[in-house]
């Protein structure tokens, strides 16, 4: 049970794939202008990392080490295509917004990183949890970033207006800058800053 907790919780905090390992930044910039695509993207990445970890871990004893990266890529690509097909069939409008970024999960460093670093050398169940944990860690950051970007950039959350009309009448304006990709990077930077302040051991100078 301790293992379970460690695998799921750690990636949310001190082993977060985005803020600590700084992987998967590209899609983080692209899909976080609105909350809904960010949530769908987070779930998609979680499904892909969890199942590719599980499958690779099941196969790990049989994979010839000389073609292991190719095997990993085939598994990841197959899963991503499946996810893409499902999104197109059931959440068409979101899949249009995510467009190429679903396909680009294949090249998301988090997925390959976890396969090489974890699934190739651990048992299936633990690998699966590791995948879920890292997917959650990724989703968490995406959702935080998308929350602020949608709130300040469009005045809505999940498409519903949350900033009262009276604010606009008093002269409040949506911040158009929030919609642009660079703001995602700045928000991620702020998150990293807060995280490092709270956990001094994460700062390079304090590492012993």
């Amino acid at each position: 049970m301790g293992n379970f907790k460690k695998l799921i919780i750690e990636p949310l905090r001190k082993a977060n794939p985005i803020t600590i390992l700084v992987l998967g930044i590209c899609s983080c910039l692209a899909v976080t202008a609105k909350l809904k695509p960010a949530i769908v993207m987070g779930i998609s990445v979680m499904v892909v990392t969890a199942f590719s970890n599980l499958i690779i871990s099941l196969l790990r004893k049989g994979i010839p080490s000389r073609i292991r990266i190719i095997v990993q890529l085939v598994v990841v690509a197959a899963l991503v295509i499946l996810v893409d097909q499902f999104l197109k069939a059931f959440v068409y409008d979101v899949s249009k917004q995510l467009s190429v970024f679903v396909g680009l999960i294949i090249t998301n460093c988090i997925v390959m990183g976890r396969l090489e670093a974890y699934a190739m050398s651990h048992k299936p169940w633990e690998s699966f949890l590791d995948g879920i944990g890292n997917g959650l860690g990724y989703s968490l950051i995406l959702i935080i970033v998308a929350f602020f970007r949608e709130l300040l950039g469009s005045g809505t959350l999940l498409g519903y207006q949350v900033i009262p009309q009276s604010f606009y009448e008093l002269g409040y304006r949506n911040n158009g800058l929030m919609i642009l990709p660079p703001m995602a990077l700045i928000i991620v930077g702020v998150i990293i800053w807060i995280q490092r302040t709270r956990h001094p051991e994460l700062q390079e100078n304090n590492k012993k």
């Binding site: 049989g62 080490s65 000389r66 095997v71 598994v75 197959a78 295509i81 097909q85 069939a89 059931f90």
Partner: protein, 243 residues
């Protein structure tokens, strides 16, 4: 099997893996195809209804509203004669038909007649080229065969913030109420670089503002409307004579 890195093992391993993955993906593609097709059809109906300025269209009620308002789906030949009205038009690929026309082969043009309660609106699909890839859309012409009721556009890969602005309400809204005929001559709708303010006042009702920074996409929209609408002119002339 004893040596995991022998060439034979690697080949067999890779072959089996690929066959399994391929089978899995084919099954998924076949099973999900009807759902995906329905989404695409829904989107198409939404776009047609939106162009004809039917209010409150959403993905959920697209089918019902389309059935209610769309009175005819026609296929026309180059002389404006009706070839087919059985609904084949819905799945006709305009790009292919325009290509057939260029090649001098037989072709047929789809046209959707939407009744909004007051009049029959002709919704015409558009197909053209932007800066990076294809652009397409729908333009709705009122029953006087002159006034534009509405238009919408979409694109494959125009630059976000520049060319991709053709999908915005702001750009598309400009088309409402513009006219395509001037003194009985077809002039299309010009997408004017620098804005319609640069045109003589008499030409302004046949033009809209281009997108700054998206000149080539704007030009693509201009050419697309001109090229496609001119194919439908024989049909419009026929409609006029009948009235």
């Amino acid at each position: 099997m004893s040596n995991k890195n022998s060439t034979g093992y690697i080949f067999i391993y890779a072959a089996i893996l690929i066959v399994i993955v391929a089978a899995l993906l084919s099954v998924a593609a076949v099973v999900l195809a009807p759902y995906q097709q329905r989404n695409k059809d829904n989107e198409k109906m939404c776009n047609i209804l939106n162009a004809a300025a039917i209010p409150n269209v959403s993905n959920d009620n697209a089918q019902a509203l389309f059935d209610k308002h769309c009175t005819q789906m026609l296929l026309l030949d180059g002389n404006g004669n009706i070839l087919d009205d059985s609904g084949k038009a819905f799945n006709t690929n305009l790009k292919q038909e325009l290509y057939n026309k260029e090649q001098g082969n037989g072709y047929s043009l789809p046209l959707f007649v939407i009744n909004n309660g007051a009049q029959n609106i002709n919704v015409i699909p558009l197909q053209g080229n932007g800066l990076w890839g294809a652009i397409w859309g729908y333009i709705a012409i009122a029953d006087d065969c002159n006034t534009v009721v509405g238009a919408n556009f979409d694109h494959a890969s125009e630059t976000p913030g520049l060319g991709a602005e053709i999908t915005t309400e702001k750009f598309q809204h400009q088309f409402q109420g513009k006219t395509i005929m001037k003194n009985g001559q077809f002039v299309s709708i010009k997408v004017q670089k620098g804005g319609i303010i640069t045109l003589p006042e008499t030409d302004r009702e046949h033009a809209v503002d281009a997108i700054s920074g998206g000149s080539i996409t704007s030009k693509g929209v201009d050419e697309m409307i001109n090229k496609v609408l001119s194919c439908y002119l024989p049909y419009f002339e026929k409609q006029h004579k009948e009235e």
